[in-house]
Amino acid sequence: MGNAGKYDKVDRDILAAMGKPGRLYLAGLAVTASLVVLGGILWAYQIRNGLGVAGYTHPVNWAIYITNFVFWVGIAHSGTLISAVLFLFRAKYRTSFNRAAEAMTVFALMVAGLFPLIHLGRSWVFYYLLPYPTQRHLWVNFRSPLIWDVFAVSTYFTVSVVFFYVGMLPDFAAAKQRVEGIRKKIFSVLSLGWKGTDREWRHYGMLYLFLAAFATPLVASVHSVVSWDFAMSIVPGWHTTIFAPYFVAGAILSGTAMVITLVVPLRKSLSLREYITDDHFESIAKILLFTSLIVTYAYIVEFGLASYGENVFEREAFRYRALGEFRYLTWAMLFCNSLVPLTLFSRRLRRNTTYLLVVSLLVNVGMWLERFVIIVTSLAHDFDPYVWGTYRPTYVEVGISLGSFGMFFMLYLLFVKNLPVLSISEIKEHL
């Protein structure tokens, strides 16, 4: 068959995903949606009765909500990493992941953005956090890491959305020719009347390059800022200079893991084998392995400094983290983030998608645990021994966390059925 046929096949294959949803899909949608509703109800309940319904105690003022926030922001990371950074590095295999990854970024940020609000004692005055001119003549405290968060995360979200959309622009144009009905109309509007003229392509190339260029430092900065929420404080176990790189690496690790978690089933269910090949997975797996090594190094540094340093507070914090009542979580974290990925040194395992799926799930768990132990154990045993305490989550926190996962996967399922899951134009280009 000729070229055209080839291209048409690409269109057909990729847009085939938008076909009638199957039972499994609808079931998944139902489950995730109901989780969202559950989370919503619990949040309302919490707002009504105060944060007391959560398991916070006096020393442990931050817990699962902030854990989730950091976790989701982390997930959001590899999205842009894979799209932007790999684009700049001209890594071809990016093509098969970037759309999925970018979507992931956007949705993860939507979820992450909720948690600071859920965590507020008075969510209803959240707008005090926004720097806008008020009758009070009062602005926000730009020295507070939390305000840095507001800026960093919102910027990251905006840029990611733009990046996501721009990437899809030519595909909308392509897609509108292949679909019918209201979808056609919507795609036509979204395509902004893209025709694919030489002028358009020229500016488009430049735009995409610059967006990638902007997004890449942003990836590093955003999670550094998130890590500074902790590093800028004086809490033993938080107050560490390595936090920024440590968290960025962690974020990429968890993000990459999540990409694998999402794309393996995606490829299977939508039968996109020939576009998302095992080589691609191998390369991603390498990133996973690499970042896992960085994170492991960070762990070693943390504990090393604590045990060699003369600082009693630091020492106690890490003794408690490793041997205190949360030790099992710490050990589980080390197992998932440091040991399991080591197996990826074997090529065979790297190319085995089912195994990768398992690893990626474990890493996700591990990374969530990492944030949890960092936050909770450090707070539970800080300076004044009199106030040493502990923390047990309640069903409210658990429910809301489940809701967040529900929201993320619901959005993702909707994405899969309504937007081109692979970058059509790029795949054609690389044929």
């Binding site: 000729g2 070229n3 055209a4 291209y7 048409d8 269109d11 720097p131 003549h137 009062l138 602005w139 926000v140 405290n141 730009f142 020295r143 305000i147 840095w148 800026f151 960093a152 910027t155 905006t158 840029v159 733009v162 990046f163 721009v166 030519p170 392509a174 020719q177 036509s188 509007v189 395509s191 902004l192 009347g193 893209w194 025709k195 694919g196 003229t197 030489d198 002028r199 358009e200 392509w201 020229r202 500016h203 488009y204 190339g205 430049m206 735009l207 610059f210 967006l211 902007f214 997004a215 430092p217 942003l218 900065s221 800022v225 134009s425 790029e426 054609k428 280009e429």
Partner: protein, 145 residues
């Protein structure tokens, strides 16, 4: 010779394009439509480099300035001491400035792109003329330019 020349094959299309240029058809009268970005087209039809870059630069610069101006002026408008730090403490403000640099930069680049490539175009959205995955060359009549 009006009317679009439609090609299935990328190779054939490029040949014809080169041909046209060699025949001396003025570059600015040739318009091509491709299903994806074809680097060769850039070489065959050398146009000016995209101006999107300048939008990026201006946007980013304005972002930095806004970032610092905003933080410094607002803190000065109601000076409140926190943690014994000076009212205008640059290091933290740097972070805000950085974020705004990226934000403004990205947005203005996007705006620039839309502006330069005349998007969104109503005609484009409505137009029936669709070439699918074909490569198209259009040559406009001289007088019209």
């Amino acid at each position: 010779m009006a009317g679009p020349m439609v090609f299935e094959e990328k190779g054939k299309f490029l040949e014809r394009l080169r041909g046209l240029v060699q025949e001396g058809v003025p570059v600015e009268r040739i318009r091509v439509i491709t299903p994806f970005g074809v680097p060769e087209v850039e070489e065959i039809l050398p146009g000016k480099r995209s101006k999107v870059r300048f939008f990026a630069l201006v946007g980013a610069a304005s972002g930095t300035v806004t970032g610092f101006a905003f933080t410094i002026l607002t803190t000065l408008s109601w000076p409140l001491i926190v943690g014994g730090k000076p009212i205008v403490s640059i290091p933290p403000f740097l972070i805000i400035a950085f974020a705004l640099t990226i934000l403004f930069g990205a947005l203005s680049t996007f705006a620039g792109f839309l502006l330069l490539s005349r998007l969104p175009s109503l005609r484009g959205i409505r137009s029936g003329e669709e070439y699918g995955n074909a490569f198209v060359i259009l040559v406009e009549e001289g007088e019209r330019r």
